[in-house]
Amino acid sequence: MCNKKIISLAFVCMALLPAHAQKRAELNRQMTEIKQSPMYLWAEATNEDIDKAFAEAQNGLNEAATGWIAIKLGSAQVKIESKDTDKCANWMNTRRGNSMRTFIFCKKTDLVSSKAILSKVTLTAEERGEKVAEEPEIVIPPLPEAPKPTDTPVATVVVKETPKIGFSQQVVQDVVAAKDMYRMKEVFADYKWDPRFEYGRYEGGLVPDECYLLFYDGGGKIKGVLHKVGTKVEEASTKTATSLSSYAVWRGYWFTVTDR
């Protein structure tokens, strides 16, 4: 009876062992998930000295948060420091040989609610962790049937030649003309097999030169088509200068197109 109680106690105590007994692979998997989630800001560092790894990771998180806020507010007026991220950050440590890896992260919702000046920051549904309605499937309308050949002579019509425009100009024209996501996806479906055209989901971050960005709201309405030219961003249709932060709340696609 006494032995059974001791064994039971041992099992209970083992169950309460701290999280560092958690397998390394599982922690790595969690870090990868957090990195790819729009809900979080994160940073990491590896150092033989665990305190240095933590300090470096913490600085990295502060810089990442400051940069993200700057994009959201359209200016670099707010500097995020450790006293701000301390309130909402969590971290994980894993061993790498003789070194320690520290991964530090915080939820964007927690950061924004931790500092009064950040109340102006608008989060997207994905950043808030809300379930987003699934995008409708691409429906490519079937090609119309080819007309049957007849013996009736066809009247000769003289067509005035319209000046040709380059491939890239045509693509941009077609994308700008698309007013909603359904039409936009038809345009992408038309061009996606052409090696001169490439596209993908825009997940934030720096935009390469000559890249186009297309933003749309939750209802599928196109909010803007932008073009990165050097260090500037302009509206593709009017060439008017604009800023990326004005579109930060919407989802987007990027695309690039060349004439050759």
Binding site: I6, A10, C13, L16, N28, T32, R95, R101, P208, D209
Partner: protein, 344 residues
């Protein structure tokens, strides 16, 4: 249940806790099944960035899959040079390794001579130089202008290189320093790969190669005979040095070279502004159980960016005794001040 039971339970868990930590320490390495690589910043053309991201994602994912499956690498379908292909396969013979992160984001940096580089890719391996213990290294990749992989190296420790890059005077100087670090990392990795062709190519035909050996010298000091260690220097030709390395490569299943404490200085002579003096500490170990630690000095010639060469290589032992109590005096360590101006 009484206090005695509680005490025994706590004692048991106090025993179990270090056992569980030990269990965690000995956990076999497992790689994440896929790696996504994202370019974070840089001013390369969009097509190059996409190629870099796609090729790097494919390469790192293949490292991880091959590590988990304990097999040879399958690099077909990944755009890379022949040199990169051979180098990576040679490194794989040294040890299987993997990318210790499922999502890697790094900047794509321009190199002074053209092309690009990505650094600080986290790599884990069971290092034969550490008797199979887990080891962490950082990897770097270089690419040509189209984003095709040109080379994979084990990096010098970031704690070492950060200082070198921080001392850059401007963007051009930083690019040049990055290029030098890339070459030094290539040299270090070449020993692990047993790449004799690279060593033949990188040492100039008239390279000055000097190696120090500790000898015990009898010294008569007021009728008291003392045995003092002294360093004897021997000069080798390039041919002699390369032939010696060939023998070592053939005799050893693996060779590991680590560099640390690196400093880079441009040669002070006005006529040698494209020459750089690199000073570092080298740790060498091989499969036959030989280990040493010494000061390595290299004079690099960057006049022709397509044929960067080493003109001077000196190696001096760091320790003058087997117990590592007596170091080589600092004033005897070869540095850029000792390099004569070469008649060009």
């Amino acid at each position: 249940m009484n206090l005695k039971h509680i005490f025994m339970g706590v004692t048991l868990s106090a025993v179990m806790l270090p056992v569980s930590l030990l269990a965690e320490e000995k956990e076999p390495l497992v790689a994440e099944p896929a790696v996504k690589f994202i370019v974070r910043g840089g001013d390369a053309p969009a097509a190059t960035i996409r190629a870099v991201a796609a090729n790097t994602t494919a390469l790192l994912t293949e490292f991880n899959k091959a590590f988990n499956e304990n097999r040879t690498l399958n690099l077909s379908g990944i755009a890379m040079s022949d040199e990169a292909f051979e180098g990576i396969n040679s490194l794989w013979e040294y040890a299987h390794f993997f990318c210790d992160d499922g999502y890697v984001q790094q900047p794509l940096v321009n190199l002074a001579a053209g092309g690009y580089t990505v650094r600080q890719i986290p790599i884990m391996l069971n290092d034969p130089a550490l008797s199979g213990e887990d080891a962490f290294k950082e990897g770097s990749l270089t690419y040509d202008a189209q984003g095709r992989i040109a080379r994979f190296n084990f990096m010098l420790p970031t704690t070492t290189t950060a200082g070198v890059l921080e001392r850059a005077k401007d963007v051009t100087d930083e690019s040049r320093r990055l290029e030098i670090l890339s070459y030094v990392e290539h040299l270090r990795t070449a020993y692990c790969e047993k790449d004799i062709d690279f060593l033949e190519q990188v040492y100039s035909d008239d390279a000055l190669i000097i190696t120090g050996t500790v000898i015990k010298q009898k010294k008569d000091d007021n009728s008291v005979i003392k045995i003092e260690p002294k360093v004897k220097y021997t000069q080798y030709t390039k041919r002699q040095y390369i032939d010696d390395q060939k023998k070592k490569f053939a005799a050893n299943k693996w060779i590991n070279v680590d560099y640390s404490n690196i400093t880079i200085k441009r040669h002070p002579a006005l006529s040698m502004q494209d020459f750089y003096c690199v000073q570092l500490v080298q740790d060498y170990a091989n499969a036959l159980g030989y280990k040493d630690q010494g000061y390595l000095f290299l004079l690099w010639d960057f006049r022709d960016p397509d044929q960067v060469q080493i003109h001077v290589r000196t190696w001096q032992p760091k320790w003058l005794d087997d117990n590592h109590t007596q170091e080589l005096p600092k004033e005897e360590i070869y540095s850029y001040k000792d390099v004569p101006a070469i008649d060009l």
